[in-house]
Every structure is written in C-alpha cells, then in structure tokens.
C-alpha cells in the first residue's frame, strides 16, 4: 500500500555564482580569515520550509501556488531526488516521476531504440519494455516512422512517443509536473483517455498545476503552497477558493 509521509521537511538551495563556486575565493577567504567569504557567502533560497504532509492510498493531490512557491521542489523531494536538509520524508511504493516528458531521448536513435531507452529510464526492465513494445508502438500511431531516427520527427511526433512510453508504466505513486499534453486534437482526446486509464491504476497521484480546471477534474485533495510553506490543505474546492481568493481572480 502506497503512502507518503513528510515530517517538517525543509529544503534550502545555496546559490553559488561563479565566484562562490571558485576554489580561489575559497582559498583566499581562508587565508584572510574568512573576511571575503562572509562578504560573498552563498545566498540561500528556502525552497521548502517546514512542510508536513500525509497522503494515503487513493489520494489525488493537486499542488497549487504561484511560480516559485515550491511545487516542483516538493515533487522532487517525493521522487527521492532531493534529500531534505531538515525533517524526514518517507515514501512507500514505486514512484514514477513525469516531469520532463522528453527526458532521455536520443535524437540519433530510432523510435524503437528510444522506446527502450526511455523505458529503462523509467525503471522498467528490458523484458518489460519489449513485452509492451507492440502496445506502445500502436499507441504512437507512428507506424514505419519508428524505424527512423527521431531527429526526423516533428515535435508533436516526439511528444507522442515520449507520452506513449511514459504512460505504459504502472507505478504506485505518480508524480506529474504541469504541461503533460501531446499533439493534435484527435491525439489529445486519445491521450486524455489513456491518461485517465493510466492514472486510474496509480495508488497516489501528486499533480502540480496552474490549471484549476485540471486540478478540479483530477484531484480530491489540494495543497496550497506559498514561498515554500504549506498554507492550505484539504478538499479541492475549498483550497482552490482560498487560492483564487489570494490571487484576486475569484
């Protein structure tokens, strides 16, 4: 049974510009007793601040908030990419992050090769990818194009390919960053159907989005974030009203 438990999680990014990353500054700073270093010390961005959240099986969570509120950082903590600097994050179940849909595509390889590569990236074994190859290939509707290097594809075709592989996995926990849409109108409809079928299988979904319609449609819980803090958790309707109230649109 999938479960996510965040307890007082904080994540801070040190911002190193060229001078703070340089060894010279470090050494000179040490030689001068740290005077220069303190002057140019790395500024810190507090991306997540004391976040405590608990999600259970069946939760469909929408993350809302302004740009820079910490939505993507939170998703990356859930994916296990960032280990929090303070607090604990416990995530049980197989996690599939779909952040950058074109991640790990090799322009010079054929469509088939890219299906395998992408499947491996997403944590499938080679046998699993090959077992699903026909289904994936059929869904892309790319036919004999799959034998060509994907640099010959249009952007929409590449998107279809990436989308088809990404939605062929069956994770317990699905993390979605905004902007998962693909291709022309007919395909979008097909993609939506597949996305629904796909997301129906996951035990927990966390979706970061600016689209209130999407959040309303997909989520039963919402989390409102602002400056790295959680300022509202609860049923989607109420949290969205709070969000819209803050932005002044509603």
């Amino acid at each position: 049974m999938a479960e996510i438990q965040l307890d007082k999680v904080s994540v801070a990014f040190p911002i190193y510009n060229a001078s703070a990353r340089s060894l010279k500054k470090r050494l000179v700073g040490a030689a001068l007793g740290g005077r220069i270093q303190s002057e140019a010390g790395p500024s810190v961005v507090q991306a997540l601040d004391d976040v405590t959240l608990h999600f259970r099986h069946g939760d469909r969570v929408g993350l809302v908030g302004h740009n820079g509120a910490g939505k993507t950082t939170l998703l990356r903590v859930l994916a296990g990419i960032y280990e929090p600097g303070a607090g604990t994050a416990r995530v049980e179940g197989q996690v599939a992050p779909l952040f950058d849909i074109s991640l790990g595509m090799d322009q010079e390889s054929t469509g088939y090769e890219n299906i395998v590569l992408r499947g491996l990236f997403l944590g499938m074994s080679k046998a699993e990818v090959e077992a699903r190859m026909d289904e994936i290939a059929e869904f892309t509707e790319l036919g004999s194009f799959l034998d060509l290097p994907i640099r010959t594809y249009s952007a929409g075709m590449q998107m279809r390919l990436a989308f088809a592989v990404s939605t062929s996995i069956h994770p317990d926990i699905l993390l979605l960053d905004e902007g998962i849409s693909a291709g022309d109108a007919a395909f979008i409809e097909k993609a939506n159907r597949r996305l629904q079928e796909f997301t129906g299988k996951a035990s927990i979904i966390v979706l970061a989005s600016h689209s209130e319609r999407l959040v309303k449609q997909m989520c039963n819980t919402a989390v409102l974030m602002d400056h790295g803090r959680v300022i509202g958790v609860g049923p989607t309707e109420g949290v969205l009203r709070q969000y819209l109230g803050r932005t002044g649109h509603g």
Binding site: F13, P14, Y16, A18, R21, S22, L23, K24, R26, R76, A79, G80, I81, Y82, E83, V95, P97, F99, D100, L103, G104, D106, E108, S109, V116, L117, L120, F121, S125, K126
Partner: protein
C-alpha cells in the same frame, strides 16, 4: 556510509540502463560517419605511428622494442586520463538527468567506466596490430593484464566519485585536473622508458601513474610487473576508496542541489 554503499550497489543493479547509455555515448559521437567508432582506432593508430617514428629516432631506440612499448603505454594512458578527465564531469554532465530521475548517482559513474572501456577496446586493436607486426608474443604472461585492468577500473571508479563530487561543487577543479593530467603525461614514462632516466629517481617511485601504467603495460610486453608496482597500486586503491567513500557518504545528497 551504508547509504553510500547502497547507492553504489543500486547503481550496479541498473546495469542495463547504463550499459545502453554508455553504448549510445560512443555511437552518438560517430553516428553517420563511415568508419563509425573505428575512428577511435584509426586516430590512435596514426598517433602511435607518428610518435613512434619521431621519438624512436630522437631517443635512438630500436623500433622493434620501442613501438610496442609506446603503443601499449599510449593506449593505457588514454584510458587512465580519459577516466580522470571524464570523471570530473560525471555529475555535471548528467545534471539534467540527475534533477529528473531518481536513480542511484553511481549509475552515472558506471556509465562513464563502461564508455571508457569501450573506447579502450577499440584502441587496444592498435596494440594487437603492432604486436603482430613486430612478432611480439607476450605468451601467458599477458593474462596478468586482466587483473590489472580490473584494478585500474576500480581506481577509475573512486576517482570519478571523488573528482566528480568535488568538481560539481567547485567548478575550477576540472580545469586544474586537466592541467595536472597533461603534466603527468610528460613526467610518467609513456613516451620515454624508465631506464632512460639516469639513476632511479623519486619521480618514478612517487608517481602513482607510473605504477598504474606499469602493472598493465608489462604483461602486454611479456614481462611480469615488479611486486612494488602491484603493492603501490593496491595501496592507492585502498586509500583512494577510503577517501572517496568518506566524501561520498558525507556529500552525496548535496549533488542534486549543486548540479
């Protein structure tokens, strides 16, 4: 410490992934060229041929002796320096993946070792050609090269872990390392032979690269490497791994923040 080890073991489990990625790295570079990856072989052949004739004459060496020595040394140096200079970029270069994909970070180190090993295999063909040409038969002694290659890769692993980590934080380190490797090429007996150096100098005994090259080059030339070479390499391996593991346990979790 146990999480760092878990990361390294976990990376090994993703071997189909890094195996495929490593192959793609090589193929991508030579895609659509007629010779493909054999450009690696060809350019190494030209280099060894030209340097062999030039320095063989300058040093007044018997070409039958000198060319196999140079070919073996040069190819090994290519492997060692490749591991080190690529090692500094191992996490920086994979930044996009690291920020998107929750995989053990060591996956990227395995990928680097693998693609360097493939390059080495292409270069090794040159040594085979040279050995055949000059009728050099190292015999069974050549088998000693296998454990030597294994321990060399083991050293490449800790170097990539340590240098990759430090380079991600301090972006000057790749430049410093690239310069040092260049200098070491001239200090290490690769184009010159150890016995050309009058009086056995400290330059040889204190140079870790000399020992690393020697344990592999000697068997290829049909000689048994000195015990001190092997002992030195084992020492370097143990100390290197200890230091790298310490750093990796302490700072591994910061790497996604730094890339």
């Amino acid at each position: 410490m146990s999480r760092a080890m878990g990361d390294i073991v976990g990376g090994w489990r993703r071997r189909v992934l890094w195996g495929t990625m490593g192959l793609h790295d090589i193929r991508q570079r030579y895609r659509r060229s007629i010779l493909g990856p054999f450009w690696i072989t060809l350019s190494m052949g030209i280099m060894v041929g030209a340097l062999g004739l030039l320095y063989g004459t300058i040093f007044k060496q018997d070409i039958h002796d000198y060319l196999p020595f140079l070919a073996a040394g040069f190819i090994l140096w290519g492997l060692i320096s490749g591991l080190i200079t690529d090692g500094t970029q191992v996490f920086i270069g994979a930044g996009g993946l690291i920020r998107q994909l929750p995989a053990p970070l060591s996956t990227h180190v395995y990928r680097l070792l693998w693609s360097n090993l493939i390059t080495f295999a292409h270069n090794a063909l040159i040594f085979v050609v040279v050995a055949l040409w000059f009728g050099l038969n190292p015999g069974w002694t050549a088998l000693l090269a296998l454990p030597a290659l294994a321990i060399l890769l083991l050293n490449g692993f800790w170097m990539a872990l340590l240098l990759g980590l430090l380079s991600t934080r301090f972006r000057d380190i790749p430049l410093v390392v690239a310069n040092l490797v260049q200098v070491m090429f001239f200090i290490t007996p690769v184009i010159w032979k150890p016995d050309m150096l009058p009086g056995r100098a400290l330059v040889l005994d204190l140079n870790p690269f000399h020992h690393l090259v020697e344990i592999l080059r000697a068997p290829l030339l049909g000689e048994v490497p000195a015990l001190e070479n092997w002992l030195a390499v084992i020492g370097i391996t143990l100390i290197g791994w200890a230091v790298a593991l310490w750093f990796y346990s302490a700072y591994r979790w910061r790497i996604p923040y730094w890339v």
